[in-house]
Amino acid sequence: MGEFKVHRVRFFEYMPSPIRAMAFNSRTDRLAVARGDGAVEIFNFADNYFQEKVIPGQDSRAVEALCWVGQRLFSAGLNGEITEYDLENLRPKYTVMAYGGPAWTLSMSTECFLCQVGCEDGTVKMFEILEERIQFQRNHDRQKGRIISLSWHPSGTHIAAGMMGMIRIFETETGSPANKEVVVWSVAFLSDHTVISGDSAGKVQVWDGFTGTLIKTHLITKWDVLALSDQSSLVAGTSEGTVTQFQFLPLIVGQQDKEWVRTRTFKNHSHDVRALAHTETAVVSGGMDTQLVVQPLLDRVEKNTQESALRKIAFPHRSLVCCAKKSGLLLFQFPEHLELWRLGESDGHGKPGDSLPVRKKPEKLIHLKRKGEDHICCSALSPCGGWLAYTTVSSVRLYRLQYNNNSISIKKLPKLPKELCSAHQLCFSSDSSKLFASSKHSSVIVVALGQSECKYLHTLKPKSGYGTTEQPVHLLFVSEDSKWLAAANTGCEIHIYNLNKLKLHCTVPVYSSCPTAIAIHPVTSNLVTVHANQQIFEYSLAQKEYTEWSRKLQKQGLHNLWLERDTPITHISFNPNNQAHIILHDMFMLCIIDQSLPLPDRKTLLYNQMTLRSVPESERLRHSHAFKICKNFQHLLCVSTLEDQALVVVERPLLDIMSQLPAPVRQKKFAT
């Protein structure tokens, strides 16, 4: 077991963006989440809630509503535009101007392929959903106030619109003015013509859709009710961070009269809940505290199984930190800028567990703002620190960095090869001579880097016509000897290219779960992959088959506690001094897998580092197993190794994020 000097990095001031809207597609089990900065994320609920795709945001795109129509995803925002997204190329396909001012809400009817947009100027605009685009059809009568929320009656004949102070049902003109200027933040139109509304006075009200009369009022909070979702049951999200569930039940068991009864309340958020969605077994909520919470409903799942556990997704499932191994530099990716830092230095020596004094503090070298309105999709730093690149949906930019003593200069490369117009993933070779960029149809573009220029070399393409090569590449890794390149896409395919011959070497057998991290061992040239369901595989590239160790691991099976972890492994690295080590991390733990030690079986204690320490040294080897897990560092964004036997651990404690969120509501509690 080696010993490492650990650089504990806490100066990555990563701030996630609040959740504004979400929509669940029950046919494909995908949840689309829209964030405050305009980014749209797709989570695959069937594959351990893995964050499959991220479409970066844009400055003016303030998404207020999201909707699925079949496999197509649409959004409407405060910039007055309706956008359809291209989920294979991770960018907006096109936008259509609604010409009604900011668009507040979107409602789709899949039966009649119509879409309604509620606008600032009081109109509800109807669009027809055609194959390649949407087309404006007509306007409904213009109302006096802005339309904040819309809901279709399931039959498609009526629409309920929530406005300032009232709810209006089109096709039948009824309204109900309120005394105060109450904002009806959300409405739901049920199939029996009941309309449910959530408003800023904290009430959830049940109305009769035919007569416009109020049936029942539930005052659930002192603050606003911001979101409603109705499918199997009705849930309402509030500014307090609670999600209240209502069900249509008879008041007395056995009786026929049913009414909407408040059943459960969940407090899973500290800040306002802005968006809600239903899956078959759970309620998904998200809001200003930027975390996505999946709350299983216990009347639909078996108790005490993994399915019934509450799940909170706080960090992205991809790496935002790039570490230059040879030069001790870190590149942090923010949506609108990049930061380049040099790690600090320390001379001291100490026992394991000691904190060493810092001789030279870490310093921020470059703060690079992105050009244009689009947010940064992906960024990379070469291992020597001499090249920096980032991509947006519309462009790729490459910079040359030069270090003279204490100063650093950065120069943009003006002309890039035209093939390098947009990419989803970037990777530099270890000698910084080549840049690899993933492009359309899972292909990879190879570009040679000269002194201050770059030249297009080749495009590596997977075998077309078989498999799901339409899906975008989300992981890219080049081996240290620059011989192999591995590219994984969200269709669960991993293609291996031979860089000496510049062609496809093989495709790893497709596993049903999406890979979350891949890496190629520098010495053995084995490909290590970890998947969303926490399975680990090792594949020999030379022999084109799974290694002996991998087969042994599959036969024995992974430990239960390992499989029950609910955050994915996002980065794999190796120990330069011990080739049997594989270093992995997820949000809560750092693990070193020692392939020379025996694998733990189901009954072994998985987290055994503490107990091993209490055992005398001579006995330790007998009790050790391959998985050495350390939970000293939280919450992890990236763990990487440097060439000089040091580990870099980038932490971003959730407390630090929470202290910078917008204001929560004040709850007066006794004795505070």
Binding site: G80, A663, V665, R666, K669
Partner: protein, 226 residues
């Protein structure tokens, strides 16, 4: 108006003419004339006086109303005329409509999203040099306006301000994150201090000044010694 009170007179000009009428009463002496007795005004006279003044008041009120009406009418007409001048004539509008119907507007916007869009609601003439401008009859030029302009973004800003004011504005009863987290520290099992116990960002300017002075003092102290 002056009441019919015996012996009392007002300084109204109409009254002055009646001072010739003598009175026989020996009530209060009026200031203006010492010898003369106060005038006595008969009931009839004062009644007619009152009626006259009332009529006068009504007349003036009516006249004023009529004047105001006239003014208003004139102003309205002026506005109508101005509006007519501002609005393009009907045939110009027709020409505009035929050249670019609303549906075409949309497809145009789709194709040339980056450069142009059309704002059909604005009917004022714009004498700016823009692409896609055509000269129509008279002094008018029709040009397409950039949609991604001040109007769209100001509307977007107004909408975002609306949400911000409703959720975080006055009366929204909000507290700070520090308080929320500190409450958890206070009421948790292991009680701890507030998350941000010391307000680190107070008096920054004074602190910086003190730092500078300290450096200067240290430097001064070193000079004689070295």
């Amino acid at each position: 108006m002056a009441k019919d009170q015996r012996g009392k007179t007002t300084t109204s000009p109409s009254k002055k003419t009646d001072t010739e009428k003598q009175t026989e009463d020996t009530t209060m002496v009026f200031e203006s004339s010492d010898d003369e007795a106060p005038e006595e005004v008969t009931f009839d006279a004062s009644r007619t006086e009152a009626l006259r003044s009332m009529k006068q008041a009504l007349d003036t009120a009516r006249r004023e109303k009529e004047l105001l009406k006239e003014k208003r009418r004139k102003r309205q007409e002026l506005f109508q005329e101005q509006k007519k001048i501002k609005l393009l004539s009907d045939d110009v509008l027709e020409e505009m409509d035929s050249a670019s119907s609303k549906k075409q507007k949309q497809s145009e916007a789709e194709e040339q999203r980056q450069d142009e869009g059309e704002n059909g609601k604005k009917k004022k003439k714009k004498s700016r040099k823009m692409e896609h401008s055509r000269n129509l009859k008279g002094n008018y030029r029709v040009a397409t306006v950039k949609v991604v302009g001040a109007l769209a973004s100001s509307q977007q800003q107004a909408a975002e301000d609306f949400i911000q004011s409703r959720l975080y504005g006055a009366g929204s009863c909000r507290t700070t994150n520090n308080e929320l987290l500190s409450l958890q520290n206070k009421t948790g099992r292991n009680k701890g201090a507030a998350v941000q116990f010391v307000k680190k960002d107070w008096a920054c300017k004074q602190k910086a000044k003190a730092e500078k002075l300290k450096k200067r003092w240290i430097h001064k102290q070193h000079i004689p010694s070295c």
